[in-house]
Amino acid sequence: MTTTDTDSTAAKSPTGEELLSVTGLVKHFPIRRGVLQRQTGAVQAVDGLDFTVTKGETFSLVGESGCGKTTTGRLLTRLLEPTAGKIVFEGRDITHMSEGKIRPLRKDVQMIFQDPYGSLNPRHTVGKIVGAPYKLQHVKTEGGTKKAVQELLELVGLSPEHYNRYPHEFSGGQRQRIGIARTLALRPKLIVADEPVSALDVSIQAQVVNLLEDLQNEFDLTYVMIAHDLSVVRHVSDRVAVMYLGKIVEIADRVDLYETPMHPYTLALLSAVPIPDTKRRARQERIRLQGDVPSPINPPPACRFHTRCWKAQDICKTVEPPLLQLAPGHQTACHFPENQPGGDAPKTGTAG
């Protein structure tokens, strides 16, 4: 079910202190049937994640739809309670903290939502939306909430005059800025951004991504970025974790991951990124995965990727490959990784 605990902190970046650490994180959604609501199965949305996030970095979670990345984001902000595992934020275990106890901590962990149309209450003014954090956390600001909200609006590139307007009067990009302003209100330490730009036009995406980077530099923010667009991820991330069917298959620094991907799934994902250069495109071989992503209700045993992997052998169907450090700061969960420093020999399980 979970990967070995010994490697959970192995990929910790040498510089900077650890802000968030996740060990063996599991979230299963029960499937209930019948009059008695008996549990007949479970959607294994997230099934044993181990990673750490260091202060000031941007850590990205990528993967295709349904791989559990959004669920992970909601677990980190404790909108959902984990089934098993451990989430430690700033040395405090928040895994099963009660709603009352976690309330003051929510100041420090905030979330940017995917849908700029759904994340703002249509009946509230911008002032009320962006001012809500102060009200809910009983934070008093110098010069009053209105002044603070107007400063935030300016910070994210909106006019303070927008204070009394309603969300429906704004475009998608502007709405996302309103959402970012709300997120920033309490000066959080960690921001979980759940596909912050995927609902926006490509031209607006760049603006919002740049805004997020500027804010990171200004306020020393740490991001956990959830995304499926690999070019956006390449632009913003320091480290990237690739997810497949509720598990992390590879974690690496951005450069390592894009240049020497080790897991076959990562390789396949990267080969699907369009290259705007016809000469280079001809050289790159596109890997086409066969079939669909298996159902998370009944995932394949051992390595979950073996049903679609061109390198799969018998061991992949019986022994689950642990997430091991194969190069400095580069962890992969595969029996037959690509681009290995020491050649292509099968791994025997010595963690770096």
Binding site: L79, G118, S119, L120, N121, R123, L136, S159
Partner: protein
């Protein structure tokens, strides 16, 4: 990004809805008739005094003794009796229609208030909390909807004593009918509110509030309720005409307010006995019910279009 040019005035969804409603002439006409009806019901004694008619005085001198019908054409319409008089005892129809509006609207409004109140609370609770609470409330709604309401009304009115909880006479009957209609029609609005709450609960702004540490009361009253007021208002407006019809039906069956108090349904029931010799007697109460129901429905439809939550 966007530079503010002068003072930017935000338009709330309410203001936009009002602008949209103002453009809908049919709905406005319906609304005007509704307003007129409310005014007529409120100032019934004053109106009757000005015209010089009373609802309960007999005018036997205007009745043909052999046929028991009003003397003259069209129910005996005259300057003294603008809508004519009743057969047999000769009471003024205009006054009875005006006073009948009081009973009709009072019962319809109070019953709607009661069912909207119960329905909203039950719907929000079922939709927001889900789980076994939702199952319990939903099954309760099914039971209420399966209840043979008219039979129950007939039995209850027959069984209730003349005095109850300090109420007697007409006020007891009104309270009883309001209770019957209101208490048994809340599942209609309850189901709608439950569905709306279910879909609103999953919207990301609720998650956003939760991630800021909002408590349940804040989410219910500040995040969800403002989004529910529009559907509540629309369905309340559409429930009123149903209740007007229901009250008329109960009066027709003889379980409404007691004679001599005027009510439209009671007038129709008397008219049904006289349709062969005085067929025009059923026209005024019938038209009154028809116009009231139509006006409320047109206004409610317009309101729904204006408040449509799907159009942003």
């Amino acid at each position: 990004m966007v530079q503010g040019v002068g003072k930017i005035e935000g338009r709330s969804l309410w203001q936009i809805s009002w602008i949209r409603l103002k453009r809908d002439k049919v709905a406005l006409a319906g609304g005007a008739v509704v307003l007129l009806l409310i005014l007529v019901a409120t100032f019934a004694p004053l109106i009757c005094k000005i015209i010089g008619v009373t609802p309960n005085d007999f005018h036997q001198d205007l009745i043909d003794p052999s046929l028991q019908t009003p003397i003259g054409k069209w129910n005996g319409i005259s300057a003294d009796h603008p809508f004519g008089i009743e057969p047999v005892n000769g009471r003024d129809i205009f006054a009875r229609i005006v006073y009948g509006a009081r009973i009709s609207l009072l019962i319809a409004f109070l019953a709607t208030l009661l069912s909207v109140g119960i329905g909203t609370v039950a719907g929000v609770v079922a939709g927001y909390f889900g789980g076994w609470v939702d199952s319990l409330i939903s099954r309760l709604m099914d039971i209420f909807l399966a209840f043979p309401l008219v039979l129950f009304a007939l039995a209850l009115v027959g069984a209730v004593p003349d005095q109850l909880l300090g109420l007697k006479g007409d006020s007891l009957r009104v309270a009883l009918i309001v209770f019957i209609i209101g208490f048994f029609s809340w599942p209609y609005i309850g189901r709608i509110i439950r569905g709306q709450t279910l879909s609103l609960r999953e919207r990301e702004f609720v998650d956003a509030a939760r991630s800021l540490g909002a408590r349940r009361p804040y989410i219910l009253f500040t995040e969800l309720l403002p989004n529910l007021i529009a559907p509540i208002l629309v369905y309340a407006t559409l429930l009123i005409p149903t209740n007007v019809l229901f009250e008329a039906g109960l009066s027709y069956l003889g379980v409404g307010v007691r004679p001599p108090t005027a009510s439209w349904g009671d007038m129709l029931s008397i008219a049904a006995n006289w349709y062969q010799v005085a067929p025009l007697y059923m026209v005024p109460p019938g038209l009154a019910i028809f116009i009231t129901v139509l006006a409320f429905n047109l206004f409610g439809d317009g309101l729904r279009d204006a408040l449509d939550p799907r159009s942003r």
